[in-house]
């Protein structure tokens, strides 16, 4: 490990991307993630890279398509309303099987909503967002150190499977400073890019990158290929943190910033004789279904705590599959649940 630095989450995402060999950034500013663009604007010229502040989010995502098709490691970042604008492009990129990394530092919606932290884009990220039967890998860090590590992983996963990989954080994670240690090691896992449209030099057949398949037999075959790939990713890339789950009274499930608050609640509750476990999905897709199956009959109940009206709780219910009751507690609009609120909910459930 290198020197410990105190850095802002957003800046760490950008630094991690550079370390992962990303030399192309296209974006359009929006709070609370604009520091990513600031950092890239400053650093890209130093590494002979490309920074473009596009004329819109739609333009930026299509620039991502272009750079990815040419085999480059490419990043775009935005926050909720901007990510909505990118959905068409994301679906095309997924259809064309191009690797890229998209950062969503989520703010509260719907509509323009507000700029404060939220997790209300869970459904959009893991269930689709754009049209068609596609999936993105969605990683949800909960510390600045993890922002670094998962952003690097995101580039390697994207290249390995030719898939869109999203880093989903929230305003707190993007804005906060915490210690981060960058590794003194090569971060890039090389991947085959012989499919990229880099020019044939009249020496090979042309490569084609497209998401259009007019022939239904071919399109079904293409979809089956995508689904097989997604299944492989579900087997290989599921990430989860299981914390304090030996014989708990209740298991709370939370991701990102909320999981940090829950860890504090666990400590406080212990003093009152209540044992709380935590299952923290790190990959939101693929969802860590197996961990929930494993612990389904261990606690008296499950509680999903989220910064939304109840989204991940649906996946938790599917995974727990009726073996235990699954409760929900959430705040919206940029409001953050206090430790006390969560503890009160736990007591109400256990009563």
């Amino acid at each position: 490990m290198g020197e410990k630095l105190l850095m802002k989450g957003n800046e760490v995402i950008a630094e991690a991307a550079l370390r992962a060999g990303c030399k192309h950034y296209f974006g359009y500013p929006i709070t609370p993630q604009t520091e990513i663009a600031h950092y890239m604007a400053k650093k890209m010229p130093e590494v002979d890279g490309v920074f473009v502040q596009a004329e819109s989010e739609v333009a930026a995502i299509n620039m991502v398509y272009g750079a990815a098709a040419a085999g480059a490691r490419v990043l775009t970042s935005s926050s909720s309303p901007g990510i909505s604008l990118k959905q068409e492009g994301i679906s095309y990129i997924a259809g064309a099987e191009l690797p890229c990394v998209i950062v969503n530092i989520v703010r509260c919606g719907p509509g323009l909503g507000g700029i404060l932290p939220a997790q209300c884009d869970y459904f959009q990220a893991v269930k689709g967002g754009g049209h068609g039967d596609y999936k993105m890998v969605v990683l949800a860090p909960s510390s600045v150190q993890e922002l670094y590590e998962l952003t690097v992983d995101a580039f390697n996963i994207a290249d390995k499977y030719r898939i869109v990989t999203m880093i989903m954080g929230d305003g707190i994670l993007g804005q906060m400073m915490e210690a981060v240690e960058f590794r003194n090691q090569e971060e890039i896992i090389p991947a085959d890019k012989s499919w990229a449209t880099t020019g044939t030099e009249m020496k090979r057949d042309n490569n084609m990158v497209t998401s259009i398949y007019i022939n239904p037999e071919m399109l079904e075959k293409h979809n089956q290929k995508l689904q097989a790939k997604y299944k492989q990713i579900e087997e290989n890339e599921t990430r989860v943190e299981v914390y304090n789950c030996e014989n708990p009274d209740i298991i709370i499930t939370a991701f990102g910033t909320v999981a940090r608050i829950v860890k504090n609640v666990i400590k406080t509750a212990e003093k009152e004789g209540i044992k709380i476990g935590l299952i923290r999905p790190i990959s939101l897709w693929p969802f860590p279904t197996q961990e929930f199956e494993k612990y389904a009959e261990v606690p008296k109940a499950f509680l999903s705590v989220e910064l939304n009206a109840g989204q991940m709780v649906e996946d938790v219910k599917l995974a727990v599959n009726g073996k235990r009751p699954v409760h929900f507690y959430g705040r919206m609009g940029g409001m953050i649940p206090s430790q006390q609120e969560i503890l009160d909910k736990v007591k109400e459930i256990l009563k």
């Binding site: 707190i172 906060m176 400073m177 210690a179 910033t257 608050i261 860890k263």
Partner: protein, 176 residues
């Protein structure tokens, strides 16, 4: 042991950088730290605040529901945050700018004319450092040496010539 500090005032008073210096110094002492700035709607009103946690344990939530210390550089911030300070905690105000005294009687209150003192030193930007001096002196949250080290890390090199003066401001705050 966990120290939780709220620093608040107007934008431009060095509120966020004061918090950052404190967090950096804590990190240099191998403590777990977090720094969370206000970036929400209150910023549009020209006010700024940050939450800083310095802890022996890993930091859970970076958002504070209560704090062990408050440093304020304007009146509205005192009103807004004084209720969040734990019993036995510390409130430090810049009495050049905050004309009211804290209502709390169960905390240690220090009212320091930091902006006036900084103006006398010939550099208004030292006011935040003077207040941090009091905080460090009273709570021992970080050492003076770590703070000097943090200044080196946080300030751009062309401003390193200011460090001796900044340290003098810190000591003036400590000794006030």
């Amino acid at each position: 042991m966990q120290q939780e500090i709220i620093i608040a005032g107007f934008g431009g008073q060095g509120i966020l950088s004061a918090g950052r210096l404190l967090a950096y110094a804590g990190m240099l002492e191998n403590k777990n730290v977090s720094w969370l700035p206000s970036y929400g709607p209150e910023m549009r009103g020209g006010t700024a605040n940050c939450h800083v946690i310095i802890s022996d344990e890993p930091v859970g939530s970076p958002i504070l529901n209560s704090a062990t210390a408050l440093v304020v550089m304007n009146g509205p911030s005192l009103e807004k945050f004084e209720g969040m300070i734990v019993k036995g905690g510390v409130i430090i105000t810049d009495s050049s700018l905050v004309d009211k005294s804290p209502k709390r009687t169960d905390v240690d209150v220090f009212e320091i004319p930091a902006t006036k003192m900084a103006s006398d030193m010939g550099n208004l930007t030292f006011a935040n450092i003077i207040l941090l001096g009091k905080l460090i002196g009273k709570t021992g949250i970080v050492s003076k040496e770590s703070f000097a080290e943090a200044l080196k890390k946080v300030l751009p090199e062309k401003k390193h010539n200011l460090i001796p003066e900044e340290m003098k401001a810190l000591e003036d705050g400590m000794n006030y």
